[in-house]
Symmetry: C2
Subunit: 351 residues, 2 copies
């Protein structure tokens, strides 16, 4: 059988943040792919389109006209999954049939007035403006709601129905599953080890280096040891920070910089506007603002689906849905690949 090498021998890795496992079978990336090919994103998106409801000056479905905004622009989602005033479901008549109230608000945030831009092509000042707008919304909605989920679906492959650069913010009256899970695991880690899990993890990764993608004085990005998506990353502050709104001026600038560097690498990987879903997790808010949230550490997850090229994705299907996530290259291999990519966007390279 020989000596164990993780780039060669299948094994399982533990995800301490989700308390589950991923199956790593690096040898499997060699298999040929004859399945579905993804359409690369359109290259001819018009900068301004009066029929695109996210553009400045456009009319939305509810008849409202967008302002001629010049930076970021926040407005209510016209088809919100969460509304502030739904009535409470009645009491359950059986433990296997339990419903609970769900209230909230859904907002859309445009990053920029132009439809043909994406975050990695925006300037540092423009990315910084997005970060400030995130922090502001997180604080504003977090004043009353326990959880404010900021997330970006980028690319049609990730269910994004509009190429205009934007994200969504869904605030809810409850802690969603992922929040409850990370709350439990981080609380337990602090109790058992005396240090916030992700603070310790960032220190370890800064030292081990093999999963680092980019770093600066305040932040680092790693392909986490337990990554499930091929090029999944975790963006972490180096100091203990509970929430986006707690970031200092300098940390916001360095966040803009590290996001730009990561996203340029992502686009450069397959020379395509890299699809992903990303989002922020931090300490809960609303009533939790009064509680000790010292076990929490702010972080962003990036979940990109592409595996081998701009058109071949990883499918998380049968085995993954029914049993356990499985990946085809090691996190270390993915990190190496990302690390080695240039930090100049392929569209901005001078020949």
């Amino acid at each position: 059988v020989g000596r164990f090498r993780d780039s060669e021998h299948q094994h399982a890795r533990y995800n301490p943040l989700r308390d589950d496992w991923v199956l790593v079978s690096a040898h499997r990336v060699k298999r040929p792919w004859q399945g579905q090919l993804e359409k690369p994103p359109p290259e001819d998106v018009p900068r301004w389109d009066p029929n695109n409801p996210l553009c400045p000056g456009a009319t939305r479905v509810n008849g409202e006209v967008n302002p001629q905004y010049e930076g970021t622009f926040v407005f209510p989602n016209d088809f919100p999954a969460l509304q502030p005033d739904a009535p409470e479901p009645g009491d359950s008549d059986h433990p296997l049939f339990r419903a609970a109230a769900a209230r909230g608000v859904c907002k859309v945030m445009c990053f920029h007035p132009w439809s043909d831009l994406t975050l990695p092509l925006m300037s540092l000042a423009e990315i910084r403006a997005v970060i400030d707008a995130w922090a502001e919304l997180a604080a504003e909605l977090g004043a009353s709601y326990p959880w404010v989920q900021i997330f970006e679906n980028k690319g049609a492959m990730m269910g994004c129905s509009n190429p205009h650069p934007h994200c969504q913010v869904w605030a809810s009256s409850f802690l969603p599953n992922e929040a409850r899970l990370e709350d439990r695991t981080q609380r337990q880690h602090l109790r058992e080890h005396g240090v916030p899990m992700l603070l310790e993890y960032a220190e370890q990764e800064a030292r081990r280096k093999e999963r680092l993608v980019v770093e600066n004085a305040d932040w680092l990005v790693v392909v986490p040891y337990w990554a499930t998506w091929p090029y999944q990353t975790l963006l972490l502050p180096r100091r203990h920070v509970c929430r986006l709104q707690d970031l200092h001026e300098g940390e916001r600038d360095s966040l803009a910089s590290i996001m730009q560097r990561l996203l340029i690498k992502y686009d450069n990987l397959f020379e395509v506007s890299f699809p992903y879903s990303m989002g922020w997790h931090g300490a809960p808010t609303g009533p939790y603002l009064e509680e000790d949230c010292g076990h929490w550490q702010l972080h962003a997850h990036y979940y990109p689906p592409l595996l081998r090229s701009a058109t071949v994705r990883k499918f998380m299907v049968g085995y993954e849905m029914l049993a356990q996530a499985q990946r085809d290259l090691t996190p270390e291999q993915a990190a190496e690949r990302l690390r080695s990519l240039p930090e100049v966007h392929y569209k901005q390279r001078t020949k």
Copy 2:
């Protein structure tokens, strides 16, 4: 605000099998869809193609030639995610970097010699042969492996790279995440309520009827109260059965019948070969064969992605990946829709 109606007012529902929640926002199905359209499956699949490694008589990548099989056909996956003899990873040097051994085998099972057939178009006797082959493999691999995951990825949308009707069987030296989760919740339910969770659930649903899709003397199919995918279903026996291999003759026949009825309805929903990932869960095996598994109840999950038509799917992306699954129509609405569909396949209807 008015009285609560679950087809109108968002709410959360509890999934007792996974111990998590789904957000139900039925009003949201009204929103227009301008995002990615899926390609319908090819209609011109040749019945026999010597270059298709799943066909009788074809040569596979490893040089082996398939027999001229006439029923089901099982062979080893040529790119297995699990192999029987991987070496053990070394001891972890830190609690945030934990690896574990993962061993197993991956098999492929062809359902039928023809590439242009799917389960809903097969005869009852042919489906029954698939069930027998499943039970046989489950028993054979389950003699030593703790978990035998039988799953079918159907359709390119579900990462299936070959139209030939087939499923996969991955047996592992460990309990995968979903198995551990269902083991814990079912064990707790039995302890607290004195009856296996899914046995009680089936009894309740048989009585309540609003989420029933099809039923017969031995089986029922429901859109579970906590379904996340739009037309997700759960196939349940009426009596307490731990494992596929425990099914009697009569139950195997009635299983073939109810599977055929469900899958015909699925195809009829959007008049397309309906994509899904499905799989069986039952009591663990190998060393667990010696233990009391009375809390387990055999069941199959069907996870189909389509939402509104043959080309518009539900994307489980940003909010779902980072916070919580969200659905756009109620399970009751989905069940009603499926229930009302004919049980003759649209391709076999005489005009």
